[in-house]
Symmetry: C2
Subunit: 132 residues, 2 copies
């Protein structure tokens, strides 16, 4: 029934798939996903896509960035397989590959709201920058 990795043949020098390595791969995977989300524009794109598929043009229309820049950010999300693209005629439609990341964003919003101190500090920081 189980598909867990079998013992490796003994000619592999340093066992590549023991528990330790697997946990490390998982951490690297998580870090990569976090990194892919670590930009406000990419967060915005994922939020736009939670409502369903959108064309690159529609996404671009709702972001206040250059076309090339939006395309670069879309490329990052594609590379990490957070979003997938589908071509239709002249256009490219993007959608999220998994609803799980939307859950993550929702948790992040709760996290944001939960920490009133951080929130006010941040907003005051923003207001301050504004004044300078």
């Amino acid at each position: 029934m189980s598909t867990r990795p079998r013992a490796r043949s003994s000619r592999d020098k340093s066992p590549p798939l023991d528990d330790k390595r697997l946990r490390q791969s998982l951490r690297e995977f998580k870090a990569e996903i976090f990194q892919a989300l670590a930009h406000p524009t990419r967060v915005a794109i994922v939020e736009l896509l939670r409502g369903g598929e959108l064309s690159a043009g529609e996404i671009l229309g709702r972001l206040e960035v250059e076309q090339a820049n939006a395309s670069q950010h879309l490329a990052v999300l594609r590379a990490k397989r957070i979003a997938v693209s589908r071509k239709e005629g002249n256009q490219v439609f993007y959608s999220l590959r998994s609803p799980l990341l939307v859950d993550v964003l929702d948790i992040m919003r709760r996290y944001f709201e939960q920490d009133l101190a951080a929130t006010t500090a941040m907003l005051e920081g923003l207001a301050q920058e504004e004044r300078e």
Copy 2:
């Protein structure tokens, strides 16, 4: 009852706290948290802390990195207020400020497991690097 922001005084030129700006602040906040988690060592630290408070030394003992490096990563988590520190005598104890981020990590694990294709591709990639 409500504590939602009052209208700003009219001498603020560009209204800093309208809906649009608030949503943007939220996206920036999310991106900052993601960025803070966007390194395998910091993911590892957060995972270590899910079991409860640990001293910097204990954390260092379980990570295979230099002392200075671990301390730098702890500083990142502190700066973004993901972890908080408490001094006791000679030592500094770290703990997570909110259990929500642990939920995020759990979702990420499911996300990882869910995508078998990505997983095997990644592990094969790892195995390949190993052979080279």
